[in-house]
């Protein structure tokens, strides 16, 4: 794709990430000036030595409390938004999203099973939670994809979304059943479901490999997704292997969504809202939509986390509540602007 101006957009995305991160680190119960945050961060870059003027206590807040949480929100936002963009490309459907397709519900069921069986404590050094989430996610997206293509015309927006809603309802019901049957772990499951960004460097390290691998794969296939946009037959006649492209991207997107769900619980609408906003301002080429969704998704979730921490301060709102407040009305707006185009 011809992408004059892409560099400018990418720079804007990186600026948004940095800005939201600095804001998110500086805002909280103890307010730290953004300038001090910037100098403190710069001081940790190699070959740069500046004094932020922060005392030991403030430094501890920045590095041990806020930074891991902010980094995690950036990573989870990137995963959710990047996987949303990928699903939308693969299904050629602007409403495809990890939540609407039931992917998150599948991952949620997987995680719940891990928690109630106690396996979430880990088998040796191995953490089975992301894997269980991934299996659940793959089952859900396959079910939605197969049901959607069997019932209606292939590529039809409505049938895919309806199938996703059905799959999501079923898996959510299964998840609720499992959760209620095991009263002793109820609270643990609830806390996780509502979406929490447990800010520890451990959870950052847990998702980091998924971020690099999954988003790398999705980025690699962005150009192929543009070819896939003309449908399987035409894409084949242009020399692309549609099945191979779809397989890799679905795998990466599902793993990305599952990793996000396994560290942060259910945070909806990010994968829908961000790529859509990107597309409406920067054009429909996935070469732009994918990297920009990743960057702006990261920034979006970091900002949403500020709201989650401050609106009811000192209590915290679950971040999933914040994204739903922003995302649901936005989803309705998309539906309205799409009416007539959806078939």
């Amino acid at each position: 794709m011809r992408n004059r101006g892409t560099a400018g957009w990418i720079s804007a995305g990186i600026a948004a990430v940095v800005l939201s991160a600095v804001l998110s680190i500086s805002i909280g119960a103890v307010s730290i000036s953004p300038l001090a945050v910037v100098t403190e961060l710069l001081d940790h870059l190699p070959f740069i030595s500046v004094d932020s003027g922060l005392n030991r206590f403030d430094k501890a807040i920045v590095w041990d409390v806020r930074a891991p949480r902010v980094v995690l929100s950036l990573l989870v936002g990137a995963l959710l938004s990047g996987s949303g963009a990928a699903y939308q490309g693969v299904f050629r459907n602007p409403l495809a999203d990890p939540y609407l397709l039931g992917v998150a519900a599948g991952a949620g069921l997987g995680v719940t099973l891990m928690i109630v069986t106690g396996a979430s404590d880990g088998i040796g050094p191995f953490d089975p939670v992301p894997l269980a989430a991934f299996v659940g996610a793959l089952v859900a997206v396959s079910a939605a994809g197969i049901l959607g293509s069997r019932v209606g015309a292939a590529g039809s927006t409505t049938t895919l979304i309806l199938a996703g809603v059905a799959v999501a309802s079923f898996l959510t019901a299964a998840q609720t059943y499992v959760q209620q049957r095991n009263a002793d772990t109820l609270r643990q499951v609830y806390v996780w479901i509502l979406g929490r960004l447990a800010g520890t460097w451990d959870s950052v390290l847990l998702v980091l490999p998924y971020v690099v691998i999954c988003l790398g794969v999705i980025w690699w296939f962005a150009g192929a997704l543009d070819v896939l946009a003309v449908g399987d037959d035409e894409a084949s006649s242009l020399g692309l292997n549609p099945r191979r492209t779809r397989g890799w991207v679905l795998l990466a997107a599902s793993l990305a969504a599952a990793a996000a769900v396994s560290v942060s619980g259910l945070i909806g609408f990010v994968g829908l809202v961000v790529p859509h906003a990107v597309r409406s301002v920067a054009g429909v080429s996935n070469r732009r939509v994918v990297p920009l969704s990743i960057l702006f998704g990261a920034a979006f979730l970091a900002l949403a986390d500020i709201a989650a921490r401050t609106i009811q301060s000192p209590a915290e709102l679950p971040i999933g509540v914040v994204t739903a407040f922003v995302g649901a009305p936005f989803f309705l707006m998309i539906l309205r602007s799409q009416s007539g185009r959806i078939s």
């Binding site: 150009g223 070819v227 242009l238 020399g239 054009g283």
Partner: protein, 271 residues
Amino acid sequence: MTGPQITFRNVGVTAGSTTLLNGIDLTVPSGSWTSIIGPNGAGKTTLLHCLAGLTSHTGSISIGAEQNTTLTSRERARLVALVPQSPVVPPGILVTNYVLLGRTPHQGMRFSASANDEQVVDETLDRLDLARFANRRLETLSGGERQRVVLARALVQSTEVLVLDEPTTGLDIGHQFDVLELVAELGAERGLTIISTLHDLPMAGQFSDYLALLSKGSLVATGTPPQVLTANNLADHYNIDAHVQHTNGEVSITVRRRNDARLAGNSTETP
């Protein structure tokens, strides 16, 4: 450059228990325009899809020295470009980016456009009088303009074979002629071997060097337009009572209404 000869040998396609194509033997001469005609459901599109590698088939198809079945889809896409009957128009795509998709088989792993790709696209947009639409969204173009854009995408594939599936669908008679004239000019300029399906029999006769008449999955007549477009063939395979006149490469067909059938209460059909 002259496009390759294409040879279909005993090509067959079945879907479940239904035979879609049966024992097709057809030679499309190098650099010619051959049109596949035939009633609805005869297998015209299926035959084109066999050539474009979109349908698996028995028998063999050779494109010049290449055997179709041994080609990868990428190799085939450098030999054969397809203009589908109803192209998918991705919402929001710009004309220039849509045409650039035609360069896919010439691009690397991530399908990044080279300077050469962009040059080929610009030249083709100019040639097809589309340059002023380059930054328009494809869905905002009229049917005739859009069909030229799809043709442009096929041309930038830089193939020697052009496959057109009902390229005049949905166009008024003026734009139908425009598109076919353009295909004829480009075919002559670039020495393309062209295979098309066409519903409009007089136009098929006027523009094509050769015709192949498909009926119920079998090839029933091949040859020059006067050899294939005969009153007998139209009666046998289209079930119409037609008068056919060939004058200096122009074809006129008049069809008499079936008054008897109407009196008997049957529905009337027009070709």
